[in-house]
């Protein structure tokens, strides 16, 4: 692996691998406005979502933090925030959070424009085109990997993911960390049964205690509302594929995080405080995970998939690696790195890790992933329950 990539310099010392304009609705009601603007502004993306009003408490805070995090991801050059005008999450409030990153931010509300949504689209296109012109003047420069945050994701896993693609990702993640970079492993529901191993890898006792306490408090509080997460895994599909126990499945999952020490546990969408490997407390729907990773500042995500997942992200490129020969053949257009030769040609996990490492550099340098080529740009934000279920009983 060469030790540099070509990225875009950003304010506050950040480095992007894409140079996007984000069109960000603060509320679901103006998703359509954002989408229409994005269609007419080159290199822009609308981050649409079903939220922004009627929310409160932790749930509302996570939404704000996540939308602001996506907009401040280093891959973003500038942001246009669009509100309706009567929602909880105003465009002004969201823009204020984004301004902390010192990048170009504009905001306005549709109800304040004489011309309704048609006028709002025209205004957005005008601002967007100007922002695009400014962004196009920026050139890529060489940076080392200490500037990179890598997200480690899996989705549509099968029984061979854990012995093919996942350990290959672990090797690449360890390499990034050894070059001074950062990696984040989300999806805590898939660490269950391996807590003792993660705790052993904690940089100090405080971090080990934190891993133990977040897992236990989650499992205890969900037990109180009648859900035992320990009984959910492995799923019937996993069992049919050969995975027998929860700890076996989790060992395959955490293989993506290699062998390096764990610096700490992040909240959903929280940016790492220093370099190295981090865990993110997040419950495990892949689109939600990747949204949280990108909001935490990950410029690139590697996702292993066995059965074949096409998902992407609006701000961070998602590299798909797959170890299943049939999926690599049938879903070729959705896969970036074919790891099935571990099975079909007796290739080693190290061989595949080398190919994946090269792909990672190419993507950092600007090569599009298949999810980017095909236009997969969905997000999902983790909803945090404010009430126990019993409160809703009629």
């Amino acid at each position: 692996m060469t030790e540099e990539f070509m990225g875009f310099p950003r304010p506050k010392g950040q480095v992007g691998i894409r140079n996007k304009i984000v069109i960000l609705p603060s509320v679901v009601c103006v998703n359509h406005v954002a989408q229409q603007i994005a269609k007419k502004v080159e290199n822009s993306v609308a981050i649409t979502h079903p939220l922004g009003c009627g929310q409160f408490g932790h749930d509302f805070n996570y939404t704000i933090k996540t939308l602001a995090g996506l907009a401040t991801n280093p891959n973003v050059f500038g942001v246009i925030v669009i509100g309706l005008g009567c929602e909880n999450l105003t465009s002004k409030k969201l823009a204020r959070q984004i301004k902390r990153a010192k990048k170009p931010v504009e905001f306005y509300d549709v109800q304040e424009i004489n011309g309704g949504t048609i006028g709002a689209i025209e205004k957005g296109v005008e601002i967007g085109k100007k922002m695009r012109e400014e962004s196009a003047e920026l050139k890529r420069e060489p940076f080392d990997f200490s500037n990179l945050i890598l997200g480690l994701e899996c989705g549509g896993s099968d029984s061979i993911s854990g012995i093919t693609a996942n350990p290959a990702v672990g090797i690449v993640s360890d390499k990034i960390v050894s070059l001074g970079g950062t990696s984040i492993l989300p999806e805590f529901t898939e660490w269950i049964g391996t807590e003792h191993l993660l705790m052993k890898r904690a940089v100090d006792q405080n971090v080990a205690d934190k891993i133990h306490s977040v897992m236990n408090s989650f499992l205890d509080s969900t037990m109180k509302i009648g859900i035992d997460f320990r009984g959910v895994q492995p799923t019937p599909g996993n069992i049919a594929g050969g995975l027998t126990t929860i700890e076996e499945k989790s060992l395959g999952t955490i293989a993506k995080a290699g062998k390096v020490p764990i610096q700490g546990v992040l909240e959903y969408s929280e940016a790492p405080k220093k370099k190295g490997l981090w865990l993110m407390f997040e419950p495990g729907l892949d689109v939600e995970s990747m949204t949280g990773l990108a909001a935490a500042g990950a410029q690139v995500i590697i996702m292993t998939t066995g059965r074949g997942s096409p998902t992407g992200n609006p701000v961070s490129p998602v590299i798909k690696i797959c170890g299943n020969p049939k999926t690599c053949d049938w879903m070729k257009c959705n896969i970036d790195v074919d790891a099935s030769s571990i099975i079909t040609e007796n290739k080693s996990v190290d061989d595949i890790a080398q190919i994946l490492g090269k792909k990672l550099i190419d993507v950092c340098n600007g090569e599009q992933t298949q999810a980017e080529v095909l236009g997969f740009e969905d997000i999902a934000i983790w909803r945090v329950m404010n009430f126990p279920f019993s409160a809703f009983k009629i």
């Binding site: 029984s159 050969g242 995975l243 027998t244 700890e247």
Partner: protein
């Protein structure tokens, strides 16, 4: 996956009576093994721990012979067992 493992995962579907060599030991399969499923590499007694990735993935609930398919019928979670006993 690890030299200490006492099980191995099939990277292809393998028929009964086929002989495979793992870490210098030859093992004859006692039954058909589907891709992704596991076999034992040595004779195991009820209560023995099953190792994959060099880590515990389960505990034998009956005696198991080398070359047997291992799955939910003859091993169970060691993690869940420990929680139950805590």
């Amino acid at each position: 996956m690890n030299r200490e493992d006492n099980c191995a995962t099939a990277l292809a579907t393998i028929s009964k009576d086929a002989e495979i060599e793992i870490n210098g030991t030859r093992i004859k399969l006692n039954e058909d093994i589907e891709i992704g499923h596991k076999i034992t590499l040595k004779d195991l007694k009820k209560g023995d721990l099953i190792l994959k990735y060099g880590e515990i993935i389960g505990i034998a609930i009956i005696d198991i012979k080398a070359g047997d398919w291992i799955h939910t019928h003859n091993i169970k979670s060691h993690y869940l067992e420990k929680i139950k006993n805590d």
